[in-house]
């Protein structure tokens, strides 16, 4: 096994194409993913706004499950919010002995112990630093050559833990996109906020923020994302139709994986202009 896999709740529902494409791309790259068995919700944004202790306990339970079956194995997380919660819990467990004791007392009746030994890594961290670009380049044809792609990172995979990229002007997707033969849009809005959950409760916020982002991407043929919440907002508030794909969908298409295996029929935006460049 190469990585433990924590899909998170969105990838079982509104972001199921992100789950499919992560698994399909990992297979094509020869990365073995093993789903953490019996994983539960990380608490999302809600837990921190309701109960501070639960906001550590909920992600820590998943870290403890990982430690129990596969100590030391990196946990790969595609959802930026899950990644942030798991990583925050890991930092807390490692640096705050009082909180670590409290959490372990709560987990103990389930025969779980957490020390924070498994690393938590966002999908983009793994793809950009564990050698994926060379493999994509080796298998990509010339189909994507004249496309311009806007890499959109969002917030929570970059901040507050800037572990693998610049937290304000991120570039980690550049090499992966160029490996497909496509060009990268030069812009500075890849790390600006889409409104996240405030766009759900205040649609006006979503319209304004996503409108600015998509205006900045107007010279691109498609936008690629690495977060279910960003993907949802960028697809929901489009003034003009533009294809928005998850990064593993785009890389998979360039490598010749089938659009069905990558879940390309499930996007809410019309992604056909990109899909037709890939395999039939």
């Amino acid at each position: 096994m190469d990585y433990l896999y924590y899909p998170g709740c969105s990838l079982e529902g509104t972001a199921m194409e992100y789950d499919r494409s992560c698994r399909a791309l990992s297979g094509a790259l020869g990365m073995a993913l093993v789903e953490i068995s019996d994983w539960t919700c990380c608490g999302a944004t809600a837990a921190r706004c309701v109960d501070e202790l639960l906001s550590v306990v909920l992600p820590a339970r998943n870290l403890a499950l990982a430690e129990k079956t596969d100590p030391g194995i990196d946990i790969l997380v595609p959802c930026s919010a899950c990644y942030l919660n798991l990583e925050t819990a890991r930092e807390t467990i490692r640096t705050d002995p009082v909180m670590r004791n409290r959490v372990n007392q709560i987990l103990a009746p389930d025969n779980l112990v957490v020390t924070g030994s498994n690393r938590v890594r966002h999908l983009l961290d793994v793809l950009s630093r564990d050698g994926a670009a060379d493999q994509v380049a080796a298998r990509a044809g010339t189909n994507m050559a004249d496309l311009v792609i806007a890499p959109y990172y969002g917030c929570q995979c970059l901040r507050p833990f800037h572990e693998f990229d610049d937290p304000e002007l991120p570039r980690s997707m550049d090499r992966l996109i160029r490996a497909t033969g496509a060009q990268v849009l030069e812009w500075d809005m890849g790390g600006t906020c889409c409104g996240a959950a405030t766009a759900t409760t205040r649609p006006g916020v979503g319209q304004a923020l996503v409108g600015q982002i998509l205006a900045g991407a107007k010279d691109a043929d498609a936008v690629v994302t690495v977060c279910p919440m960003c993907q949802m907002n960028l697809e929901r508030f489009q003034p003009e139709p533009v294809p928005v794909l998850y990064l593993p969908q785009f890389l998979g298409l360039a490598m010749g994986l089938s659009s069905k295996a990558l879940g390309c029929g499930l996007n809410l935006s019309d992604v056909r202009p990109v899909v037709i460049r890939g395999a039939p």
Binding site: G13, A47, V50, L54, C193, G195, T198, T201, V205, L209
Partner: protein, 188 residues
């Protein structure tokens, strides 16, 4: 809501008062430089900028803070946290204000409070979020016939992609209920 009502509330709710003190501690070293306001993507939608809100909080003008929409509009983008020259955990401080507000003023922040409650109940019951049931329970709790309409077109788009699953709600004690109860007991 009367201002006197706002002033009396923290004293009547010790856990929320404690939460507020923790938030104040987090931002106590604020130098009022305004980097947070300049970095906030939602500042233009707020009735008070983040810098002004931190000042009001530290000056003890709690009512001013809770009559604003500032902290509710925090999208957790962490740009202010990243850039704060004092290294203050401002995004977490915003979350702390939300916690205090939901417990102190459940009526004023009813929609957000009910949404988070529906979310946490859903995790307690199933361990993972069942989006369809969570939204249904949220709408039922709201008792407001027009709010669900705002989500109808999105719901239909998701349904057409078979992304919303209708599953029978299950009764019983709840998948994570023992864990939630143990955490609740520890917080006392």
């Amino acid at each position: 809501m009367a201002l006197s009502d706002v002033r009396e509330k923290p004293a009547a709710r010790p856990e929320a008062a404690r939460r507020l003190e923790q938030v104040k501690d987090k931002v106590a070293a604020c130098i009022q430089c305004g980097t947070c306001s300049a970095s906030c993507p939602n500042a233009e939608f707020m009735d008070m900028t983040p810098r002004r809100m931190w000042r009001a909080l530290l000056a003890g003008r709690v009512e001013t803070v809770f009559l604003s929409q500032t902290f509710i509009l925090c999208a957790s983008c962490y740009m202010c946290t990243l850039r704060c020259p004092r290294g203050l955990p401002l995004t977490w401080a915003m979350a702390g204000l939300k916690q205090a507000a939901f417990s102190l003023y459940p009526d004023r922040f009813r929609r957000s409070a009910l949404f988070y409650r529906a979310f946490m109940d859903n995790i307690r019951q199933y361990g993972r979020v069942r989006e369809m049931e969570m939204m249904t329970r949220y709408f039922l709790a709201l008792k407001h016939p027009l709010v669900p309409l705002g989500y109808t077109s999105m719901g239909i788009r998701l349904m057409a992609k078979h992304k919303l699953h209708l599953r029978l709600p299950s009764a019983g004690p709840g998948r994570l209920a023992p864990l939630f109860d143990r955490a609740g007991r520890q917080e006392g």
